[in-house]
């Protein structure tokens, strides 16, 4: 199972293989957690959202067509939907700064949790971006998706992704330079 590509694991999952699905969970659990943490949710909310995304993936596993899209495109589409639902339901846009502070407090100092000053600064800077810019950075910079694939996930044209990345990096530069100032 460990050597199989994602698309093949998804096909096995669609046939009902829990073993294949658990391998996908193992591969993408941290990726999804960080995806949500960078949108300024607390650690526990991040874990909860990652879990809900995997459950959504299980529900929609038969809808995935390996020839039509990459697995990551499909996964991030579901994660983005989960994130939209979360923020819509909780109306947390106004309290993201508080959530961020809580996230820092909640972060478990267990093995590999990775709570460091640099990581915190990046998360804070990401948290200050608008959701539209943040998700573009998340997909292109952190998940290394090409513009076309990111555009597919976000449902916008390639040129829009390009301009969003340009603006987001400009803003991130400003935010991080503010962070470094005493």
């Amino acid at each position: 199972m460990k050597d199989l590509p994602d698309a093949e694991l998804m096909q096995l999952s669609a046939k009902g293989s829990e073993l294949a699905f658990s391998e996908l969970v193992r591969r993408y659990q941290d990726v999804l957690l960080n995806f949500f943490l960078r949108s300024a949710v607390s650690f526990s909310d991040g874990q909860d959202l990652a879990q809900r995304t995997f459950l959504r993936l299980w529900r929609y596993r038969k809808k995935y067509r390996a020839g039509e899209a990459k697995f990551t495109t499909f996964l991030f589409m579901l994660a983005r939907q989960e994130s939209i639902d979360f923020f819509r339901a909780e109306t947390r846009r106004h309290v993201q700064e508080e959530a961020l502070a809580q996230a820092a407090a909640e972060r478990v100092p267990a093995t590999g949790t990775g709570a460091s000053e640099a990581g915190e600064a990046v998360r804070r800077a990401m948290g200050r971006l608008t959701p539209v810019l943040r998700e573009a950075v998340e997909l292109v910079v952190f998940q290394d998706l090409p513009y076309a694939e990111a555009g597919e996930v976000l449902g916008v044209p390639l040129g829009t992704v390009k301009s969003r990345i340009f603006n987001a990096l400009k803003k991130l530069k400003e935010h991080l330079s503010h962070e470094r100032r005493p």
Binding site: E18, S22, T111, V141, Y147, L172
Partner: protein, 134 residues
């Protein structure tokens, strides 16, 4: 780094440093037992799927169909008994007798029949001969 990002960072050292900083930032890890929890939830979801409304409806429909087919092929055979011999194969319940209901007017309308039978001799020679009577 993908080709699109490389192209964007071409000749912009400051933004490249920023992207590298972002990507080097330590990543958080899920707490222990996360995947086990997800898989337990997946199994629970699978169990619930068996009890969903469409599956319950399908099960009920197949049960009804099975009973219907079974009732055709496994119909109980009527056993001969004393009561079966004693009673007629079917019984007609007679209504209370009312002579008025049994009266059927059978008036003979000669002109309507077209032939006046009364005028004709009933015992003609030919008729008697046909009957072997003379």
């Amino acid at each position: 780094m993908n080709a699109d990002l490389e192209e964007l960072l071409e000749g912009d050292a400051e933004t490249r440093r920023l992207v590298e900083t972002l990507r080097r930032a330590p990543q958080a890890c899920v707490a222990a037992g996360f995947s086990a929890r997800v898989m337990a939830e997946v199994r629970a979801q699978r169990r619930r799927a068996w009890l969903s409304a469409p599956s319950v409806f399908a099960a009920a429909a197949s049960l009804v169909a099975l009973l219907a087919i079974g009732s055709i092929f496994f119909r109980p055979v009527p056993k001969p008994s004393l009561a079966a011999w004693a009673s007629p194969p079917f019984t007609v319940r007679l209504a209370p007798y009312n002579p008025a209901e049994w009266y059927v007017p059978l008036a003979y309308d000669a002109p309507a029949a077209g032939v006046n039978l009364e005028a004709e001799p009933l015992c003609t020679r030919e008729a008697l001969a046909a009957c072997g009577l003379r």
